[in-house]
Amino acid sequence: EAGVAQSPRYKIIEKRQSVAFWCNPISGHATLYWYQQILGQGPKLLIQFQNNGVVDDSQLPKDRFSAERLKGVDSTLKIQPAKLEDSAVYLCASSLDTSATNEQFFGPGTRLTVL
């Protein structure tokens, strides 16, 4: 079974530029999560989708971050414009559904550096 795929693995941009990350969850997983992991900290949820609907985006900085999962499968996370403090690893995860008993499977992450 293929795992969660993310691309790119690394991205370096200058502040005020835009960037987009892509995630393809495990086949059949209805729930998709985007986490931000700043160096030295644990991952923090940015947004959670159930199929193509948003379940929780309370910690998403909506003035600059946006995410979509139009067909309920893969997802993109965009930052526009980027700030220095956005430098982090962006992790995508998926699970069968929103039940807490379902394990979340994580992708390898995209490491973003904002200069």
Partner: protein, 113 residues
Amino acid sequence: AQKVTQAQTEISVVEKEDVTLDCVYETRDTTYYLFWYKQPPSGELVFLIRRNSFDEQNEISGRYSWNFQKSTSSFNFTITASQVVDSAVYFCALTRRSDKLIFGTGTRLQVFP
């Protein structure tokens, strides 16, 4: 509010030593779930264990064991006879049913040969 505290920022041991990683959590919920994840240098988070709040039985899986104590709100993780491949950052996490994972700040374990 929910919170997870991993007070140990970094632990260094020599191979074959036993090591315990501490995790203390806060929640007002009676039903909740606790997790441990391993994050090797490659960056991917690897699931290790899930425990629900009604199951306080300790669990052993090979060299890994977990001690869940509701009385002290702790969910500690012990690696017996550590190996170099155990070197990673370990995260403890907490969630309510159908809710997001709340992670601790992680403990970096370095196992030296």
